[in-house]
Symmetry: C2
Subunit: 210 residues, 2 copies
């Protein structure tokens, strides 16, 4: 009776609390150790209760993924190239801050936070002069570039390749092992933006088809 916790002291379970705790658990222990039971335990409740707020475990993952997209700052107005660079840098930082996220990058990202950033990207590029087929191509190229880059970097951790394999791959062994990931990202993004910029300046009056 007296041991029974008073309802008012105990925070009521909300979907927001579930998602926040899921992100914390994922950050601390990784995707493989996210369990409905463990998540419920951290929320001081039974695993069954979670299913009142959520339909499946996949829902939790979708929600958690979109939640961290909310951390990506949306740049203030400015030159389109600076805006894009800033958005992508923040995006990449968020993905790397939550390494479990890269394992979830398959699956449609249709949450409000993800859609908001994508909309910003589209709008920025449209304002910069991209139109027709160039607009989705440019937007997807950039989005693809961040997610792919973060995926590669986050997956690479844990030691280099065994020497036996690398003996047959001289160029790879010489340049590919340890390198500055930040520089690689910035430099690669530079290539992409350079190519995009030359396209938009040359074709600012319309969109090419081939």
């Amino acid at each position: 009776m007296w041991l029974r916790p008073r309802k008012q002291e105990r925070q009521t379970l909300t979907l927001g609390r579930i998602v926040a705790e899921a992100v914390a658990l994922l950050d601390e222990e990784g995707a493989a150790r996210l369990t409905m039971r463990r998540l419920a335990e951290r929320l001081d409740t039974g695993s069954t209760t979670l299913y009142w707020h959520v339909r499946t475990k996949d829902d939790v993952l979708d929600l958690a993924l979109d939640a961290i997209f909310g951390e990506v700052p949306v740049p203030r107005p400015g030159p389109w190239r600076a805006q894009v660079s800033e958005l992508l840098a923040g995006w990449r930082a968020t993905l790397l801050r939550h390494p479990w996220s890269v394992g979830l990058l398959d699956r449609p990202m249709m949450g409000p936070n993800a859609l908001g950033r994508t909309e910003f990207l589209y709008a920025t590029l449209a304002a910069a002069g991209f139109s027709g087929a160039d607009l989705p191509a440019a937007a997807h190229s950039l989005a693809t570039f961040v997610t792919g880059s973060a995926t590669t970097q986050a997956g690479e951790r844990g030691g280099a390749a065994p020497p036996e394999h690398l003996r047959d791959h001289p160029t790879l062994a010489e340049h590919g092992l340890d390198h500055d990931w930040d520089d690689t990202f910035t430099r690669g993004l530079g290539y992409l933006l350079d190519g995009m910029a030359s396209r938009v300046t040359r074709h600012s009056h319309g969109s090419g088809q081939g």
Copy 2:
């Protein structure tokens, strides 16, 4: 007695057969339904037996992923831009032909087939004039581009976003919903290669630092 299968008729279990059957199972039913038991059943053996040839289920996945990389054709000699385009087109086609693969693209890809393609990419770019920090940057940009592009496309399947969400995202709604994935890929790769080409022609005598 007579029902007992003769040993000679029954094919002996090899790691190669396991991997081949795993790829077939993944192709047919997807990653979620790959089970050691189900895989064993298809091979007409017990699930325990698989663990003699393989340490964990993750091993099977690593092996299967590298196996399909073996399907990616390595281009014959030619201009570097054509070689890169051909390699990436084949790479992308393979990933899309085995949609489960994009969910495995986190995790280090250190199998012989993956390393071989990466080595080819490095070597081609090195021969094209990329050096210093530009070499890993260019190679990673391209690898990142294919994997990210295939991931986005394979994950997007299954219907567009609910209209309620899209109402707040006009630019996205207008251009982003249905588009030609092949064209988007080719065009985006064009941006990237354009940017890379201008870099290598201008700096063919050395590598820049900024």
